[in-house]
């Protein structure tokens, strides 16, 4: 018994000594950063940007997903090459939420002073790490929490989905359009609505009864689930045009197969599709109509050059909130980028059909082909230079809904003359479908309403 007690005491002492050693060891290891952090918690009077900026990207998935993380990493590689004189970059992929803290610790211990965390899940972890390292600059993608050294950024696709919707409304024969959603979070709900609004705008004029059928698969990257959901929509709901949010190319390949079968006369309706996030035309040259493309390098180049110039410091990021749309070039409308840099907005296979389908532009009352309408709207969204400065901070988002200002009897456009999320719109709440939502005629939804949107327009049907 006494021997056992002695061993017990020995083990307890061992653990306590071990814990003390841990503590001492890490204080020593983190010594440099901790001590400078302590002196710099208050706003310093002078800030000198580091001569070499060491920037690190933290991804939630593998960069080989050819979707979300891949496009972020493409952005990283572009700015790394562009700014190679003063920028050193690295990345860590497939980081789960619980490993975020130690990933950031590891990066900071090696002198990385700008850290991009590119998943919504990293929001609270980024804020916690930013408190620990007040001299390091953090930029969190897709979140809404900021601090003096944490800025946020996002490039949104809702305008692009609206353009895709216009085309979908023209191409569908059954009137049933599909959408495979990863999760019905505000970002995806916004995209579904924009897509549905576009489809209805054209479809209604062509005498179609447009319904947008949505299946939620509960994963960002799940090729099998996405494929099954798309097949269900095509088979059970007569869907012949489809858009989606999922990070693989599975749906494109399925759509290509079905469309080929349709053209060979084996099945009675095709499945046309809009590629998501990265250019997907090669995966389905017969079925991919158009799609959405992201260019994160637009935002990364802006952030990093402002850090280099001393405009962004670890003490003034609390209002930095990028909300970039088509006008900035951070997103684009299309399904392929040719080696010479031009974008294939619409697969040439479908251009003729769209050029021969006529509708009336509800803005001007002019009769034009769907192709012209889509390109007109695209130019309108692209051509809004005054919008960009408003999209950079959380304080100025509210001015984005200002359409125009008249000075000296001249009209100066601030925002785009048209936005898909303009009343009259009627919808229902996701959580409680009996609760109706009405947007009065002429009212344009702004950043804050779109950011937390929780309702579907009436012709969206949610299936799971």
């Amino acid at each position: 018994m006494s021997r056992n007690a002695l061993i017990g005491i020995f083990i307890i002492v061992l653990i306590i000594v071990g814990a003390a050693a841990f503590y001492a060891g890490t204080l020593y290891a983190a010594g440099k950063t901790t001590s400078t952090a302590a002196t710099n918690t208050a706003t310093p009077t002078t800030w000198t940007p580091p001569t070499t900026i060491k920037a690190a990207w933290i991804y939630v998935g593998p960069v080989g997903d050819f979707g979300w993380s891949y496009m972020h990493d493409l952005g990283r590689r572009i700015v790394a090459d562009l700014f190679k004189d003063w920028l050193k970059t690295t990345y860590v992929e497939s980081v789960s939420e619980d490993k975020l803290g130690q990933t950031i610790d590891t990066l900071v211990s090696q002198g990385y002073n700008v850290i991009f965390t590119t998943s919504f899940e990293f929001m609270d972890g980024t804020i916690a790490a930013a408190k620990k390292y007040p001299n390091v600059m953090f930029f969190h993608c897709s979140g809404y929490k900021r601090a003096h050294n944490v800025g946020t950024y996002f490039a949104d696709l809702y305008q692009v989905y609206y353009l895709d919707g216009l085309i979908a409304g023209a191409l569908t024969k059954t009137g049933n359009i599909g959408y495979v959603a990863a999760y019905t979070i505000p970002e995806v709900v916004r995209h579904i609505n924009a897509f549905a609004i576009g489809a209805e705008e054209v479809g209604k004029q062509l005498g179609k009864n447009i319904k947008v059928h949505v299946i939620e698969i509960g994963a960002w990257f799940a090729p099998d689930k996405a494929k099954n959901a798309a097949e269900t929509l095509w088979k059970n709901y007569d869907v012949d045009v489809l858009a989606y949010t999922e990070d693989s190319t599975a749906i494109l390949q399925l759509a290509e197969q079905i469309t080929k079968d349709y053209e060979a006369g084996k099945v009675d309706h095709p499945l046309y599709v809009f590629s998501h996030y990265s250019p997907g035309w090669v995966y389905g040259k017969d079925a991919v109509v158009s799609g959405q493309i992201a260019h994160w390098e637009e935002i990364y180049a802006d952030i990093l050059s402002k850090i280099k110039a001393g405009i962004y410091t670890p003490y003034n990021l609390e209002h930095v909130d990028y909300w970039y749309l088509l006008n900035t070039g951070a997103v684009d409308f299309g399904c392929w980028i040719f080696p010479n840099g031009t974008v294939m907005h619409i697969n040439p296979k479908f251009i003729n059909i769209l050029k021969n389908t006529y509708v009336t532009d509800k803005l001007t009352g002019k009769k034009m082909s769907v192709y012209e309408l889509v390109m007109e709207r695209y130019r309108m969204f692209k051509d809004a230079p005054m919008l960009t400065p408003l999209q950079l901070t959380d304080l100025t988002h509210k001015y984005e809904t200002v359409v125009k200002i008249t000075v000296d009897n001249k009209t100066i456009f601030i925002s785009t003359p048209f936005d898909p999320f303009t009343g009259p719109l009627e919808g229902y709440k996701l959580k409680n479908p009996s609760e109706k939502v009405t947007i009065p005629a002429g009212e344009r939804l702004g950043h804050d309403q779109l950011w937390s949107i929780d309702w579907f327009v009436n012709w969206v049907v949610y299936h799971s």
Binding site: Y23, T90, V92, V95, G101, Q102, I185, I453
Partner: protein, 360 residues
Amino acid sequence: MVIVRRVKPLPYWIIPIIALLAGIAISVIILYVLMGASPAAVLSAIVYGFTRPGVVAKTFVALTIVGIALLVSFKGSIWNIGGEGQITFGLMAATWVALFTALPYINPGLAQVSMILLAMVAGGIWALLAALPRAYLGLDEVPVTLIMNYIAYYIVDILVRGPWLGKHVYNYIRTDTIPAQVMFPQVPGTTMTWDGLFLLIILFVGVWYLLRNTSIGLRIRILGNNPNLLRSSGISVPLMIIVALTISGFIAGSVGALYLGGDVYRISYPVEAHTANYGYTGILVAWLSMLELIAVPIAAYIVSALYTAGIQYQILVGGHLGQLLTAGSAIVDVFIGSILLMYTILITISEYKIKIIVKR
């Protein structure tokens, strides 16, 4: 060729050490041959991982506790694969205390203790549910505990989608964040929390005492070696199975509270996509420890250091221009897979001898 049981097994402590070294050596070769990863970078990443206790600390604490938990049931030859489900149930219980009781606002210290204790009770109950069919129906506990992991995930998913859905979450499917006063305070300079450190010490000493100085501990050990002896001395074997598995789940459940209070501060849907998989990694830790309590922290440290090494390796190589697919995050899996494989091979060699008899 025949396989013969060794009369004298090799000393047990030698196996994990050889497995570790051989596993790392094989990983380095695999990564070099298949991925073109520079052995120097891989080795320097490993050295980094092993020399940063502050960074490793959080994973170390969690894995040690899970390792201890599984050790209790493994000692009794009860193979608890359900650590993950027990942790998830613990996470659920701790979340309930933090979000749906007034305790955090009345006494934050008491609330933190209650989060941990209730998490343990929830983990214990979940393990008990798997123990009952094992004890009385003879249902194999391996598939039962494994399947119950998924049931636990889905129960929590239902809660998060339904009654527990947060009010300040911008329509994301998740609970609200727990109040700041019940977020476990961090030990400065490390990634671990004070709560985790104290819990680790208490559980370690507690289990050490349980296994060494109590009749329950003795019975669990006999259960593992010779259940017939228990039966013949009039002790209920089913009862001992229940005790072993429930204690195991009880301890594992606490990790759910640590995960909530020190890591994620809320539950996000779907919970199975937001788990740290400690319940599964803990199995590796328990095995590498050769079911010796004193070796559990060592095994946990090795595994957590390898995780840090994986992060460090990516940082070292991730910046090369034009190189898209590096070994990346898969490197940790290569390490751990190789080590486990070597371990399995060595454990066989240590107990059995292969003799080649040539027929004349």
